[in-house]
Amino acid sequence: MTTFQPLSEAALALTLALFMLAPLAIAGVALINTGLGRSRSAAQSLLGSLAILAVSAIAFALVGATFIGAAGHTVQIAGKPWNWLGTSPWLLGGLGSAPAQTQLALLFEFLAAALAAILPWGSGADRCRLTAGCATAAILSALVFPLTAHWIWGGGWLAQLGVNFQLGAGFLDGGGAATVNVLGGLSALALVWIAGPRRGKFPKEGLSTALPGHNAVYVLFGCLLALVGWLAWNVAGAVVFLHAPLAALPVTAVNTLLSAASAVGATFAVTQIRFGKPDASLCANGWMAGLVASSACAGLVTPLAAILIGLVAGIFTPLLVELFELALSIDDPSGAITVHGAGGLWGLVAAGIFAGQPGQLVAQMVGVATLLGLILPLVYLLFWLLNRVLPFRVDPDGERIGMDLQELGGGAYPEFVIHRDESYR
């Protein structure tokens, strides 16, 4: 368990109340993933989110929480301490008698591990098995998330870059842009590379086939739920990890909202210009990218900077979604790679640009280099090994009839007649 600076009773009460709202971020993402998938896989998608939440919580409690504590294994390199692995009592031992802020931080980490584990599930929609989703969640929550969270939130070497190398205040990530969103987005990329695209998505001749999401209402309502969750998430993160005073919290919430608002406005404009009409699912992606970018910097920047950060996120999101699908043959139904991966990376860099501390940008870039250069290959290797033991993909026939019938034996919308998919090749 991580040890933190003492908080006032008011701050503790507020943070606990915010944590009751934070799961709405997970609910929003789950609903978005379901809406962006096909109707024949809707029940499996939402059940998968629930199962992943459960597996993630248990894996984190049994294994992950042990490696996230502040005290840890330190090596000396060039005369500087590098705290690379945390240590805590096994199986949450002594949690009940730990200080309240330590318990709150652990609750935050439980939720963060679950959200990070759900993100790749959306990218593997319509083709990945439930068991594979649960297994990837176990790996992320037990091994990769604790490692990353310890480095960033638990006083590990990335957090200590400021003390040891005079790089600003060290790597900053109050709302989990790196530990949750970039980790989840990069895991989604690894999963998509290993599982491959949905059948018929990229035909031998011509452009990729459009496989639109089946329910825009789920997607857009998921965005509204995610707003509530993200507001709670960013404000609670600012209290627990950035030690923000209570007076600074309303600005953090305002920055979160402004970033999302300017992002969705920008995406609306970009899709209006490119397609003649605004695109609902891309606007949802833009909204989420604005929220994700704000996770890194809402507690650090001014409202004007938050608007600029959201604006940039909203412009690159639809372009990157298109680039990934049309030019790079990456089939990502939920857009998690762009929204959470690229959006989170942009937020982390923006925190360095707009936070205004000398050396902060370099600290943020070292963090980005760690996520891309170390965490992505590590996750790919772990997922690749897992896929050898437990194949991610269902067989082609299962993919044709849909994941609901294949895995659950019944559909999410039983009154609908299931047609043979003529576009299936």
Partner: protein
């Protein structure tokens, strides 16, 4: 090719860490961290290219 790209990426990470350790002055430190990120970007580009080629061969 995809694996080659993924193997290059940690090299960029170690370059960034070496920059933090070896250069106390802000300008060369920032420049070398950027170089590390550039190496990672090249590794990622190679990995993406490898993925596309693999996919093209597997297409029905």
């Amino acid at each position: 090719m995809k694996y080659a790209g993924l193997l290059v990426m940690p090299a960029g990470f170690f370059l960034s860490i070496a920059a933090v350790l070896l250069f106390p002055a802000p300008a060369p430190r920032a420049a070398f961290v950027l170089c590390g990120l550039a190496v990672e970007a090249m590794g990622l580009a190679v990995a993406v290219r490898g993925h596309m080629e693999e996919l093209r061969e597997k297409r029905p």
